[in-house]
Symmetry: C2
Subunit: 333 residues, 2 copies
């Protein structure tokens, strides 16, 4: 049986948790999905995670030597190894590293999904070889991971990189964070739907989306309408990109990245979101930054980008110090 | 004669250039000022700088062993060692490091004044022991130096840290950078004067400042009026702090600093600027950052903070590698 060094990448979501073994080059050896079942205590979850990993390791014809476990989770504190009051999970406070180490005797790290995505792009994707870049995850919300001088920025408290909560308009749309006008209320899948609703009020443009009520409207519907030339849907993408590009110009003025990488569901809309974002970014950039900053899609080829990103948390730290034998441990029960 | 290891710090300004020898602890051993005379070729300037440094070294009763030269200058490119089209200097492009090395055989580095200020605070001032902080220089404009993971962020092209050119209002005040609504058009000495002018139009508040025309109005006059209770002047400081605090909340969402340090002429207004800035910062911060970020004045005790900051550029790099004898060179002519 072929022996391969691997890291277990885990992405904990509100409904499902995905896990997989990833090799040093970012190849997903094997992966699986399990229900998170966050209504049960976290200790039960980590027992089930251990079982799932053991089972998964047996399904592959390669012998996965486990070097570490990287975990992506909402509201993760990298410094403390915890998650705190995560949205969509009923756990209040979980010592993720401690709970995981009850079952595995390898290094364990946890960070939020956008930071994991940034490390994934740096090691295996569009940011290979870059020392300064920003990853923006455009999902239901807007997450971000900022890399400067070749290092992910965690900041003083590990909560750096919340570009989704920079302010577009202090009297603007209500945000889940309790404030108003945050970027993610405009530039995200849900923000796109809110913009459609705004345009339904403010413009007279006929649109098939006028027949869909707000609770049933999805960014996929807006995408499909736009693809078929629905002008209101096209305008919604245009407005989304305009606001996103304007605020990303502020981000460039902070860290002067070589590239900004847009990933996640809304980024999959391709030109519909990239073109207006790029146009607005260049329009709002200060002269010294113009025509320098690349706007790129994800460079990850595997489907399971969240697992790759989570594994990169460990691969990145292993890459920084000389290989030591005592990091090579096998799974324990 | 006492022998002391020193770095020559140089701050090149539009009118005057200040220089001084600084020891490892940030003590200014001796300093002087010379006219920049930027109408003459840059080569002449660097010859005069060399003469001034030689003369200065002879005026002290300590023998200054020169370990390096740190230079702060507008539009400096740290990576290339150059300054390019600096405002208020008629030089188009200057190879600062190359020109300086014609006269000195020690390491030479150049960066902009806000980055130098950040390194000065990190080594000798309010940010000692911090790994994540931001320095904001409130002068005629608004400069910034961002430190994350213990390193100054230069970004892909060395032009990171232009928080003064993040956008408050895309249809707002015209900025010297050619765009509209940049933070420095509101939060700076000149921004404060523009705000006074705006309040003269929009409010009916009586004020002694109504008698001063725009070209003669200075931030010092606004400060003195505010100290004497002039309500329009007080409101101008209030508005300045409100806008500054709001945009600094965006900066916190990028790098999650332990502290933001306000330095420069306008910061010397003390509570008049710190109080509204702090209030607005806390109001606009996302929940996870509230009541965590310190807002501090400069911690540099010497008068000549620009020279200290410039010297810190060298002291910081020397601190990162083991002392090597070949770094210790003496001045050559």
């Amino acid at each position: 049986m072929a022996r391969v060094e691997s890291v277990l990448g885990v992405d904990i979501g509100g409904t499902n948790t995905v896990l997989g073994f990833v090799d040093r080059k970012g190849r997903l050896i094997v992966d699986a999905s399990m229900r998170t079942e966050a209504h049960q205590p976290a200790t039960v979850f980590f027992e089930r995670l251990h079982e799932a990993a053991e089972t998964l390791r047996e399904t592959t014809d390669e012998e996965c030597e486990l070097l570490g476990i990287g975990i992506g989770a909402p509201n993760a504190n990298y410094f403390k190894g915890t998650i705190e009051s995560p949205p969509n999970l009923s756990w209040e406070f979980v010592d993720v590293v401690g709970e995981t180490k009850k079952h595995f005797s390898v290094p364990v790290s946890v960070t939020n999904d956008a930071n994991a995505a940034a490390l994934g792009e740096m090691l295996f994707g569009a940011a290979r070889g870059m020392r300064d870049f920003i990853v923006i995850t455009l999902g239901t919300g807007l997450g971000s991971g900022i890399v400067a001088n070749g290092e992910l920025i965690y900041g003083a408290d590990s909560f750096a990189g919340e570009i989704g909560h920079t302010i577009v308009d202090p009297s603007g749309r209500e945000c889940g964070c309790g404030r108003r006008g945050c970027l993610e209320t405009y530039a995200s899948a849900s923000g796109l739907c809110r913009t459609v609703q705004e345009l339904i009020c403010t413009s007279s443009e006929p649109s098939r989306l006028r027949r869909v009520d707000f609770l049933h409207l999805t960014s996929r519907m807006v995408f499909e309408a736009a693809q078929q030339g629905d002008r209101l849907a096209l305008e919604a993408f245009e407005m989304t990109g305009r606001i996103l590009g304007m605020k990303l110009a502020d981000s460039v003025a902070h860290t002067s990245p070589e590239a900004i990488i847009l990933v996640g569901g809304l980024a999959a809309a391709g030109d519909l979101i990239f073109k207006p974002t790029k146009r607005s970014l260049e329009e709002h950039l200060m002269g010294i930054y113009k025509n320098k900053v690349k706007l790129l899609p994800s460079g990850l080829v595997e489907d399971n980008t969240a697992v790759l990103g989570a594994s990169a948390l460990i691969w990145n730290s292993l890459g920084k110090r000389p290989r030591s034998r005592n990091l090579v441990a096998s799974m324990t029960g």
